[in-house]
Symmetry: C2
Subunit: 255 residues, 2 copies
DNA sequence: AACAGTCGTTCCGGTGAGAGGAACAGTTCG
DNA sequence: CGAACTGTTCCTCTCACCGGAACGACTGTT
């Protein structure tokens, strides 16, 4: 184990387990958990036991698998309700969602990842419920919008340590190509996701600013499916609303 | 420290900190955290550092206080989205909320506590946003409804280890009185919360069953304010809808 | 300028909680 | 019946955690 100072390795390992339950509703067996997080079974056993005793995890009575406990759900719910940023973003996204009947995602950048903190689905996108709560930036509309508006030096360093793994056959895997695309984003004011993360899923994204610090904090996207809209259609119909929404959100979020 | 076997004390302590951030949107200082959770400052420092490095917590740039990080929000959001029970409950509660324009709470019992896993507010109750995600059962409409329909032996044991602390001057603090009230609940089919948790806040609650095991799993409540409805009015207007909603939820939730 | 009161941070020594390999028992599968 | 799972316990070793104390950096008070 690489030992960073001033941090609890035990806690960090324990959190990796909780993390696992954020990406899937399916239950896990003890060995599966141990395998996924890369910790030996005995330790995982102790951690999982701790979670269960406290109510964060519980065992499904039928399948005997470990799954999320009520306490995690309640805690998650409470965190969202109490979070200032979610409380500010929610009504604006809801309004846009209801008015234009479109799928909306809001992602916030932290470290080298973008985190999905709010989503409103449309009937066209429910088929694509691939729900990873944390993603790399380079294959998402929200992420590319955020990258495009980063400070040049920040972006340079990010791209340098980036590894471009293809999610689909349309994922951009060349750094030069990515940088050129990002330049086009700044000209246009919004980004594309042209089936780069999931086949059949397209999106346009716009950056979210903090007007106080003038720095990018994330992105917002409208999503649709290729059998519903072509990219050109989708762009023509919604891009102005998207940019408008992004500005509204940026205005109320004074991080 | 009392040492329970097969559990990680370090992880348990670390989770107490995360828990703290579920009950309030206010930031905390390191010493405040240490005080609240009852752990010495140095350990808390290590835990908090771990959380920050991983993005679960972050420091507010202005106030320098520790607050929830984006990762926690995204994880919470993901857990709720992925949770089967939330996904089942949500549409039913939303429908009732929109049709009757009333505040709805859904609580699930785990251990000796009831956890709020979904809420839709009305304009009458927003003033009361006291948001503790886990509560004792005896002063809530959801909790009392759940208690009333527990198996006799289970209830007896629960009441035995109960300590009835008054939350308001109307909170029931006598075990005999509580048991009598619960008996009346079973006759009526729903419970009251007559300003027993927060002054000015009233509610009626109905139990949620698992039809498979025939056991209580929680409760659902409609809430209002004393300056909007008297208890009699509120009961007359909404009790049938509440019981109806509780049955619907119980039907879809086959835990 | 000296003060008291915060804040987060570091240092350090003693110890016990956690690590983790191995073997366990209980089950489902074919 | 064995094979492949499951969760669980036992064991020893050691290192990561504990926690009191002292630190420097700020802030506001006198």
């Amino acid at each position: 184990m690489k030992s960073k100072d001033n941090a609890s390795e035990t806690l960090a390992k324990g959190l990796k387990i909780l993390d696992l339950f954020g990406v899937s509703d399916a239950g896990y067996t003890l060995n599966q958990i141990a395998g996924r997080v890369g910790i030996n079974k005995t330790s995982v056993y102790r951690y999982v036991n701790t979670y269960c005793e406290l109510g964060y995890l519980q065992r499904d009575e039928r399948t005997r698998l470990y799954k999320l406990g009520v306490r995690s759900l309640a805690l998650g719910h409470a965190m969202l309700e109490n979070s200032e940023i979610v409380r500010l973003v929610k009504p604006l996204v809801d309004e846009a969602h209801e008015r234009h009947n479109v799928h909306v995602d809001v992602g916030i950048v932290s470290g080298d990842a973008i985190y999905l903190i709010y989503r409103r689905e449309s009937k066209y996108t429910t088929a694509f419920r691939s729900f990873s709560y944390a993603s790399d930036l380079y294959y998402l509309a929200t992420g590319k919008a955020a990258m495009a508006y980063m400070e040049p030096e920040e972006l340079r360093q990010l791209v340098e340590r980036l590894e471009l793994h293809p999610k689909t056959d349309k994922t951009i895997t060349d750094k030069q190509e990515l940088l050129e695309e990002l330049r086009r984003v700044t000209e246009l004011g919004y980004s594309y996701n042209n089936e780069e993360s999931v086949p059949g899923l397209i999106a346009i994204g716009a950056p979210l600013y903090s007007l106080r610090t003038n720095k990018v904090i994330g992105g917002v996207s409208f999503d649709s499916a290729t059998d519903t809209h072509t990219m050109k259609e989708f762009e023509r119909l919604y891009s102005t609303y998207l940019v408008e929404l992004a500005k509204k959100i940026s205005a109320v979020v004074s991080l």
